[in-house]
């Protein structure tokens, strides 16, 4: 009750006060009233502004938090080549060991003393290297010192730093290229624990000496900078702290406006309020712009350390740390590659500041000052490797899309062999240039008209037949002008390159076999009824030769015998064989298929010939082996897969033997003319009117396909033997040297018998000519030369085996 009364009296008091107040206002002057209204508006506006500022601060805070706690950096995923393996006996010049050191940014250390990581020293007959450690999906390696003892172009032995023999050394895989986003920034993220103290000290000394003390902005530094600039009559010194620099790079544009500076200061305070100094410093070290390599921007001390010194941040020496700190202020003007004197002076200034601030001793600073700047060489990526990268991206599981690859900093380990890739790039480039010059010399087309036409294109693809690993891929003449990968995406008529598939179908026991290598096939006019009318194939030279043996027919790449064999075995069987061997493109089941009228990609052709080279086992083409995330943790692995048997070893061998004949005596003899020796098999292919030129060849260890043509098909003007073959030969010669290793050995179930090369009959004593030929067991000719002679082969075969 008492409380209710109290409330009533209070209400009355309030009502009276309100009335009183109203009465006062009536008596106030208009000026006062106006002032009060203005005051009210000001209060409302101030409140509104306060709300707006609060909203702005919250928005800035949201931006800061989302950036810091999400993915802070877009790191392009990097693709690495397969590691080079060095062993005693290896040809170090062919493996390009010296070139590898340069490309990987190793530094030659001339002065005596222990080698630092990522450096090397040449001594008479010896090469000492302190190899960097590296990550790998399956077999990471620690850094180690090794000595290669060299003798006549070969590695005689390898020893470690204790003098013990080393069997094999896997070199760090070369980075081929990266999946850049639109900004083309490259960085190698570092964790603060792996950053040496002297690098942090150097950056503090020159960029922000009170970083550990201030809260994002440094009033003393701002005043100091203002005074310095006033004295200098222009802007000479900045007042930004590391936090402000980070904020500017992270969130803001480089414009010089008051608004931007205020925002920068507020965000710097927000960052400092929310995060530790250590987190801010780590972000700064990974973000800061450090210069350019070609069209790529280098960001962060991790990438800069590799770029300038070819080593990891953790391995930096004091003078190198000082140089990195020196570059930060103006990466282009202080670039040690372009302005070494300027860079050296600033490095020394950093060292002086460090000593003056007590961050290093004067002696340490002096020693570091005395060291000359030793930089790693700059290896610009070859644009031609991008074709391989595109194919790799296509083969990766769908989850690794373009967006993810450009930001996640994945490390993708590929099958590419850098030495073979360089040979492929060079052979195709030089071959196309040379061919165009020759064509221009003999062309009747006006020069101006010829210049308007798009250039002759080409593709060179190399594969390991046992595993399907793609060792090299150059999908066109110049990636900068055309990204169309002709090795994988183009479907072009294959011409005679298809014929071995027809022969394999006919030689296979599954088809009978329809022929043996000594069967006689008429090279005479042929007419075949088709749905589109009469088909009458002719040979390249429009001549007919009468009966020819199967081997001779393929060696000379005769069309009519191939067409007859295709008819004999049945086009359905030919299609089936092509599918088994690895062709997935559409194949028209028409008689002319036997002559290669189908349109197929070079990659499919490489698979077919790999199957021949691999004794009938078909590999699956593959371009990568594993993937690590940006912290080096394994995400995916694609270990080797075995090849599947799709053709019996005997038929694969017979086909290979035919293709060896092509190189030894037939249309591919230009290979031998170029001095290449050893087991080489191959086939030329020139389509009608010379629109497409092919050469596909293999050794026991490598298969390579060369295709040349125009994107809008038109006549090239030379046959394959003068266009594609020389490029193939140049490529192989660089990869293997003139002597090719290995052997195409005869498998069980194939016998070698002397035959009469004219009739194909078994050659007996008294036969005027003879040559050895291979047959599947039980398919050797029954007829003898001279006719009626008795075969004694059974006796000798039992005696010596087969």
């Amino acid at each position: 009750m008492a409380r209710a009364k109290g409330k009533k009296s209070a209400k009355k008091r309030t009502t009276k006060r309100k009335r009183g107040s109203s009465g006062e206002s009536e008596s106030l002057s208009p000026a006062l009233l106006r002032a009060r209204r203005v005051g009210l508006v000001v209060v409302v506006l101030a409140f509104g502004a306060g709300l707006w500022v609060a909203g702005w601060l919250l928005e800035l805070d949201r931006i800061v938090v989302s950036r810091f706690e999400g993915r802070r950096f877009s790191v392009p995923s990097r693709v690495y080549a397969a590691p080079i393996v060095i062993y005693p006996g290896a040809d170090w010049q062919r493996l390009d060991l010296a070139g590898w050191l340069t490309r990987m940014g190793y530094r030659e250390q001339a002065e005596a003393g222990p080698l630092s990581v990522g450096s090397y020293r040449w001594l008479p007959g010896r090469l000492r290297v302190h190899l960097r450690g590296f990550d790998h999906p399956q077999l990471p390696e620690d850094d180690r010192k090794v000595e290669f003892r060299l003798e006549e172009g070969r590695v005689r032995e390898i020893r470690d730093n204790r003098g013990a023999f080393v069997d094999v050394v896997a070199l760090e895989p070369e980075p081929i290229s990266s999946f850049f986003g639109s900004d083309r920034e490259q960085r190698d993220l570092v964790e603060i624990e792996h950053v040496p103290d002297h690098l942090v000290a150097a950056i503090y000394a020159v960029e922000d000496r009170r970083f550990e003390e201030h809260h994002g902005i440094d009033p003393r530094r701002i005043v100091g900078a203002m005074l310095a600039n006033l004295r200098a009559g222009g802007i000479r010194q900045g007042g930004s702290t590391l936090t402000q620099q980070l904020v500017k790079n992270f969130f803001l544009t480089p414009e010089r406006t008051l608004r931007r500076k205020v925002t920068e200061a507020v965000m710097a305070l927000t960052v400092e309020a929310r995060y530790t100094k250590s987190q801010i410093l780590e972000a700064y070290l990974n973000e800061i712009y450090m210069g350019r390599r070609g069209s790529t921007a280098i960001h962060g001390v991790g990438e800069a350390s590799r770029f300038f010194f070819g080593k990891r941040v953790v391995d930096l020496a004091l003078d190198e740390s000082a140089l990195l700190a020196a570059v930060i202020q103006s990466p282009n003007a202080m670039s040690p590659h372009r302005h070494s004197e300027r860079a050296r002076n600033r490095r020394n200034l950093v060292l002086d500041l460090m000593a003056a601030q007590g961050r290093v001793s004067p002696e340490e600073a002096e020693t570091a000052r005395a060291r000359r700047i030793s930089l790693a060489s700059i290896a610009l990526e070859s644009g031609q490797d991008r074709y391989f990268l595109d194919e790799l991206a296509r083969q990766l599981p769908e989850v690794y899309d373009e967006d993810l690859l450009s930001v996640e900093g994945l490390r993708i380990y590929s099958t590419l062999d850098p030495m073979i890739q360089r040979a492929a790039v060079r052979a195709l480039h030089d071959g196309l240039e040379g061919l165009e010059k020759r064509l221009a010399g003999s062309s009747k087309v006006e020069t101006s008209e010829a210049e308007e036409q798009p250039p002759l294109q080409g593709c060179l693809l190399a594969m390991r037949p046992q595993t399907g690993e793609i060792l090299a891929m150059v999908g066109g003449r110049d990636y900068a002008t055309s990204q169309w990968n002709r090795c994988t995406l183009a479907r072009r008529q294959v011409g005679s390159v298809f014929k071995p598939i027809v022969y394999a179908a006919a030689l296979s026991p599954q088809s009978g076999p329809v022929v043996t290598l000594a069967s006689s096939v008429p090279d005479e006019p042929l007419q075949v009824e088709t749905r589109d009318g009469l088909w009458e194939p002719v040979n390249y030279d429009k001549e007919f030769r009468g009966p020819v043996l199967v081997r001779d027919a393929l060696e000379r790449s005769l069309n009519v015998p191939a067409a007859r064999i295709g008819q004999a075995v049945g086009i359905g069987k030919v299609v089936e064989m092509a599918r088994r061997l690895g062709i997935e493109s559409g194949l028209p089941a028409v008689p002319s298929l036997a002559l290669g009228t189908a349109e197929v990609s070079p990659l499919e052709i490489a698979t077919v010939y790999s199957t021949f080279a691999n004794g009938g086992l078909r590999p699956t083409p593959r371009s990568f082996i594993g993937l690590l995330d940006d912290r080096g943790v394994g995400q995916e692995q694609w270990p080797l897969e075995g090849s599947r048997r799709v053709l019996d070893p005997g038929t694969a061998f017979l086909t290979t033997s035919l293709l060896e004949g092509v190189v030894d005596r037939g249309t591919g003899v230009g290979i031998r003319a170029r001095g290449l020796r050893g087991p080489i098999a191959g086939k030329t292919g020139t389509t009608d009117d010379e629109y497409d030129l092919w050469f596909v060849g293999f050794t026991p260890e490598i298969v390579a396909v060369v295709w040349l043509g125009y994107d809008e098909p038109r006549q090239i003007g030379v046959p394959s033997s003068r266009g594609a073959l020389p490029i193939w030969a140049d490529f192989l010669s660089e990869v293997t040297g003139e002597r090719v290793r290995g052997v195409f050995a005869r498998p069980a179930g194939v016998e070698r018998i002397e035959i009469d090369p004219t009739s194909g009959a078994r050659a007996m004593a008294g036969c005027p000519e003879r040559r050895p030929e291979y047959f599947l067991e039980g398919t050797a000719p029954k007829l003898t030369c001279p006719r009626g002679a008795t075969s004694r082969a059974g006796f000798f075969e039992r005696l010596f085996g087969s």
Binding site: Y87, V168, P465, Q466
Partner: protein, 193 residues
Amino acid sequence: MRRRSCWIWDVRRCDAVARLPRIGLLIPLACLVLGIGSGCSGLNLYDMRSVEEQPLTASAALGQTDSRRDASLRLVIAGLDDDAMGRPDRAIASYQRAVRVDATNPFAYLALARHHLEAGGSNEAGPFLDQARALFESEQRLGPAVDVWGVGLRAWIDREDGRDDLADERFEIARELSPEIWADERLSADELR
């Protein structure tokens, strides 16, 4: 007379052959060997010699070809060591590097087949075994010393795939070739090493 007999030898050695004092004895001896060979050609000599030959391990194959093969074999051996120590990822990487150095090294594929079988992957093992066989054959090294691996691993695949009759039959042959290795119907990394 001496000159005429030389044509069956390498012609460049004719003079040396002619100087041999007991050539008269050597020719009948060679004929005797040939006669026995031809007479015995119908016998299955393969089975008779098999138990005499030692299995050709990766270590034993060192020094038989060239430096590349040796480097590749050393990587295979390193991989087998990793397999033996329970580090399958490292083992696979070593085998891959072995293939990289010498893609025609049959031991790399044998080791891969064994590795996959031990992990229960008979589907993966089969093609590697085919590859190893093709390469041994291309080097003309097929014979008991390497068949001991091939037959046994094939039997292991059969066992894994539930083809027990075939597995029994093949293991029996494998045990004839090497009872110690195949007594447990498993091939350890150390045994292939």
